[in-house]
Structures are given as structure tokens and as C-alpha cells.
């Protein structure tokens, strides 16, 4: 088939198998939920179907691990896409296994929740794979819409609806900014194809330079919002606190990683020729995000808000790699993204199980956790130390690689800021650890155990945090291979 300009279109639908599987599973889950009374199936089947679909999608993504192809010039399937497909599937699997008890007890409409999880995972992998602005924009909206709804699903929690309203209104404004920016990029380049934009921006643009810069500012603002970079982060703490905890985990994991996948694709491809115009914006954003995220995190009392600001701070570190973008920094960023996701999920799954037991989420509620559940306290401690970047844990390894690659790209001053900020972050992580180990539990001091799936998910995450921290080469190699796909050898 050829398109209107006479280009050949490769309509090989099997390239999109993972997303198709996710979509089909989403509808299966909704139907299973809808007919649960007639078919006599309980809640327990829903997470099972979801995990089965996610595992199938993960397997299907690996089929295309070594190909470089595209679907109708709309979606690229290469090792970069595969990296993120696998990452998103793993995040969703871990969340479903780790949080299904929470979802049953504290989330409205669990069937719809699982369907949204699946569809937004598909949207996120389209964000990583898009090679046309239109696909990218729609993928962003699929992910955002799912998140607006997921935030509103908290059961008997008045904060949930409020957080969703703020999120949806601000998200709509951010989308408008992003779109307005895209329209200027389109106007300057005359095409929505990444390859054409790259070629057009490489040419002489002195006539339309102002409009190009305007477009870039608007795009950075719009995506900065989605990635919750300072000063576009105001929605983050509220949405994080108001949302059900698995949604908070999902917001800080998949949503962030997908935005970075998109940023990497854009800033290493179509927008790379205009690097002089956007480099300073990202540098300012990265510095502000690192400094402010860490400083405000110091004052938080709610564990979800604390993790919200900690994730903002992490975004600052990751933005740093975009400033001096090259294959090496991109590899470092992808490795850190992988390490951050694992670590962050470990902390969140632990918090979810803590909440299942106690129904509390203030930092002071963690008093004496080391006595009532030493295992969970250990998982939390490992996760928090890894987030702070302590040696022997994956967070240290990936952060080290990230900082090193940024130094190599000649942005030493950014790394100095990052190291100072990182040291500050240790303080607020230690506050939580102090509560768990140094204080006696308030009231009920009986020991309690996790559910089997709780042990499975936290155990796997803890193992990953420790093992990848000691021997992180596989993670780095995979990340490096994915980054190589962004910079094809000409």
C-alpha cells in the first residue's frame, strides 16, 4: 500500500502484537467483570486475566527484540521500543501482583481499573515507539486520560475526586500547550514525520527561528508538566496524595518513564538539529527540579507526598542527561530509568502492604515497623537507600552511570548540583527509616505477615534491587543497546 505522497506503507499488523494483546485483554477483563455474577467468577479472576495478558504482551514484545522496522511510518519497532514495552509490562505485572488486595478493598470498579491499566500500558509503549507527532500525541492522551480516571477511582476517599479534578483541568491546559508547540513545529517543518522534521530543522531556519523557539518552549512546558518538572509540578503532590496508592506508584513509574521515552525520541531525533535552542531550557528545568524537589521533600509528612517530591527530584536527575544528549548519556538515562522504576516500585509495594494492614499513610505511622514486620521494614529500607543512591544497591549503580555520562558530556556543574541535591535527599529518606527502626510502635505491637503474593512481589523487587546493585552489567548492556537504536550509524 502507498500513502498519498507515494511512500510505501508497511502494514504488518503483527509488529503491533503486544499492544493488540493488551487491548484485547482489557476488553476481556471488562467483560469478565460485567458478567461476574452470571459466570460465577469472583474478583480473583480479574488480576489473573490481567497478568496473563501482560505476560503475553511481554513475550510478544521479545519477538521483535532484534528487528528494526516500522508500522506505516507511524510506529517504529526497534530495540528502544522493545526496551520500554518490556519495562512497562513488568511494571504493570508487579503492580497487579503486589496490589491486588489493595485494589479489591480500596478501588472502585476494579474491572475498569485493570482495563485502564492495560490500555494505558499500550498507550505508554506507543509513546516510546511513535515516529509521527500524531501517533505520539494520541498516545500521550491515552495515557493521560487513563490516569485522570485512575486517580478518581479511590473508594470512600474524598481526596480522590478532588485530586482527579485538579489533575484533569491542569492536564488539559498542559495538553493545549504541548499541542500549540507541536503546531509550530509542524508549521516550521511542514510535516509530522520525525524524519522529515529532523531534515527540515537541519536546514536554514533563520526566517522562522522565533516560531521554532516558541514551539520548543511550549513543548518543553507541556512535557515538563507530564513529567512533573519544576515549575510545572504543582499537580504532582495533590494527585499523588489523592490517588489510590497503586495509581500513585503507576504515576511515578510508567507515566514518568513514558514521558522520558518520548523526550528521548524527540530530542535525539526530530528536534536534535535545534539543540542550541532547547539545551538551555532543559538545563534550567533540570537544575530547578533537582533543587526544589529535594528541598520541599524535606517538609513532607505524608508518605505519598514525600514520594511525590522524591520522584520530582529524580526527574531532575534524569533531565540532566537530556541536556548533553548523545548515545552515551541516553544509555545512562535508560539504565537509571530502569533502576529507578524497580526501586520505586519496591517502596510503593511495601507502602501498599503497610496500608492494607494499618490503613495509615503518614510517615509517623511507620513507627516501629522493624518490630512488627522486620521483613517489610527491610524492603522499605533497601528501597529508600537505593533511591538515595547508597552503594551496593541498584540506585547507586545507575545513578553513578548517569552522573558519569553527564560529566563526560561536559556538564560538570550540573553533576555538582545533582550530587549536593542527592546528599540532601538522604536526609528525608533517613527520616522514614528512623521511624521504622528507632521508635517503638504506637499501640498494636503484634507481629504480622504479608500475603503470599505480597512476599512474591516484594521479594522479587528486593532481589532485583540488591542483585542489580552488585552486578548491574546486564541492565546497562540492555540500556546501551536500546540507546544505540536512537542514534543509528549513518
Amino acid at each position: 500500500m502507498t500513502d498519498i505522497l507515494g511512500n510505501d506503507l508497511n502494514m504488518q499488523y503483527s509488529l503491533l502484537l503486544p499492544e493488540i494483546l493488551l487491548g484485547v485483554t482489557a476488553f476481556l477483563v471488562v467483560f469478565a467483570d460485567l458478567f461476574s455474577k452470571e459466570l460465577k467468577i469472583g474478583y480473583r479472576l480479574l488480576p489473573l486475566i490481567t497478568v496473563a495478558g501482560l505476560v503475553a504482551a511481554l513475550a510478544a514484545s521479545l519477538i521483535w527484540a532484534d528487528t528494526t522496522s516500522d508500522f506505516a511510518m507511524l510506529v517504529t519497532v526497534d530495540s528502544f521500543t522493545t526496551f520500554f514495552r518490556v519495562l512497562f509490562c513488568i511494571v504493570a505485572i508487579v503492580l497487579v501482583i503486589g496490589a491486588h488486595e489493595y485494589i479489591e478493598a480500596h478501588v472502585n470498579h476494579p474491572g475498569e481499573f485493570f482495563a485502564l491499566l492495560l490500555l494505558s500500558t499500550a498507550g505508554a509503549s506507543f509513546m516510546a515507539g511513535a515516529q509521527d507527532l500524531l501517533t505520539a500525541y494520541l498516545a500521550v492522551e491515552v495515557l493521560s486520560f487513563s490516569l485522570y480516571i485512575a486517580v478518581s477511582l479511590g473508594r470512600n476517599d474524598p481526596r480522590s475526586g478532588e485530586a482527579a479534578l485538579k489533575y484533569v483541568l491542569l492536564g488539559g491546559v498542559a495538553s493545549a500547550f504541548l499541542l500549540y508547540g507541536l503546531s509550530f513545529i509542524y508549521g516550521v517543518a511542514g510535516s509530522t514525520q520525525y524524519a522529515d522534521i529532523s531534515a527540515a530543522l537541519g536546514g536554514d531556519l533563520s526566517d522562522v527561528r522565533g516560531s521554532l523557539v516558541l514551539g520548543l518552549v511550549l513543548i518543553v512546558a507541556g512535557l515538563g508538566f507530564k513529567a512533573s518538572a519544576v515549575p510545572f509540578h504543582m499537580w504532582t503532590p495533590d494527585a499523588y496524595e489523592g490517588a489510590p496508592i497503586p495509581v500513585t506508584a503507576y504515576l511515578s513509574a510508567t507515566s514518568k518513564a513514558a514521558t522520558f521515552a518520548l523526550l528521548l525520541r524527540w530530542f535525539s531525533g526530530p528536534l536534535l538539529p535545534a539543540i542550541d535552542e532547547w539545551q538551555w531550557m532543559i538545563a534550567v528545568l533540570a537544575t530547578a527540579t533537582m533543587v526544589l524537589g529535594n528541598l520541599v521533600a524535606l517538609q513532607q509528612r505524608n508518605i505519598k507526598r514525600l514520594l511525590a517530591y522524591s520522584s520530582i527530584a529524580q526527574v531532575g536527575f534524569m533531565l540532566m542527561a537530556l541536556v548533553g544528549i548523545s548515545q552515551i548519556t541516553a544509555g545512562g538515562l535508560l539504565a537509571h530509568l530502569g533502576g529507578y522504576l524497580i526501586t520505586n516500585l519496591a517502596v510503593f509495594v511495601a507502602v501498599i502492604h503497610f496500608y492494607n494492614r494499618t490503613g495509615k499513610e503518614e510517615i509517623t505511622d511507620f513507627k516501629g515497623l522493624a518490630q512488627t514486620n522486620p521483613y517489610l521494614a527491610l524492603v522499605m529500607t533497601a528501597g529508600l537507600f537505593s533511591l538515595a543512591g547508597m552503594p551496593l544497591l541498584v540506585g547507586f549503580f545507575t545513578k553513578f552511570i548517569l552522573f558519569q555520562t553527564v560529566v563526560e558530556a561536559d556538564f560538570l556543574w550540573l553533576v555538582v548540583v545533582a550530587v549536593v541535591a542527592s546528599t540532601v535527599s538522604l536526609y528525608y529518606y533517613l527520616q522514614v527509616i528512623k521511624q521504622m527502626y528507632l521508635y517503638q510502635p504506637d499501640g498494636d505491637a503484634t507481629r504480622w505477615r504479608l500475603t503470599p503474593t505480597g512476599y512474591l512481589s516484594t521479594g522479587a523487587l528486593l532481589a532485583a534491587v540488591v542483585v542489580l546493585g552488585l552486578w548491574g552489567t546486564p541492565l546497562y548492556e540492555v540500556a546501551d543497546k536500546a540507546a544505540a537504536a536512537l542514534f543509528p550509524v549513518a
Binding site: L133, P158, L165, S183, T192, E241
Partner: protein
């Protein structure tokens, strides 16, 4: 013919008016309307560029069509949330929904 700048300036004005509405209004529904204004500005921009600078492939027209679709869907989604919040709080004003600090 009409110069291309006319359309671009018009869309910029519409976008700015919408932004003013978003910043100054308190009622969630009025904020939604203002977001619609901003998106209308975006659509005008896309169509302008499509019919003036991309006459062969006109991707911008398709883009504008999707912008209109997504904007309509967003109104439906957001109104659902507004209605729910109104049931819980008896208010549709954003700043009265403030159990979470900004």
C-alpha cells in the same frame, strides 16, 4: 488571498484569551470552556499550516480533526469528575475543593 499571518495572530489571541480564562475563573466548568478556547486556537493553527505550508500531505488537517475529537472526549471525562465532586461537596469551584493543599 488572506495572508497566513492573519490566521496565526488570530489563533494566538484565542489561545491567550483561553489562558486568561483558565487563570481567572474559579468554576471548573468555566475553566473547561476556557480550555476549549485554547484548543480551538490550536486547531486553527494546525489547519492554517496544513493549508498554507503542507498542501501535498495536509497532515495538519488530520491532526486538527483528532484535536477536536480529543477535546470533546476530554469535556465528557472532566464533566463526569465535576459532577461527582459536586455530589460530594456541593460545589463546582476549584478553590473550594481544597482539602489537599496546593
Amino acid at each position: 488571498m488572506i495572508p497566513i499571518e492573519n490566521f496565526l495572530v488570530l489563533s494566538g489571541l484565542l489561545f491567550a484569551i483561553g489562558l486568561f480564562g483558565v487563570l481567572s475563573r474559579r468554576s471548573a466548568i468555566l475553566i473547561l470552556m476556557s480550555v476549549e478556547l485554547m484548543l480551538a486556537g490550536v486547531a486553527i493553527n494546525f489547519i492554517t499550516f496544513a493549508s498554507y505550508r503542507d498542501t501535498e500531505a495536509f497532515s495538519g488537517l488530520v491532526f486538527a480533526l483528532f484535536v477536536i475529537t480529543v477535546a470533546a472526549a476530554e469535556v465528557g471525562l472532566a464533566l463526569g469528575i465535576v459532577l461527582r465532586l459536586f455530589r460530594e461537596r456541593r460545589t463546582a469551584n476549584v478553590d473550594e475543593a481544597s482539602s489537599l493543599k496546593w
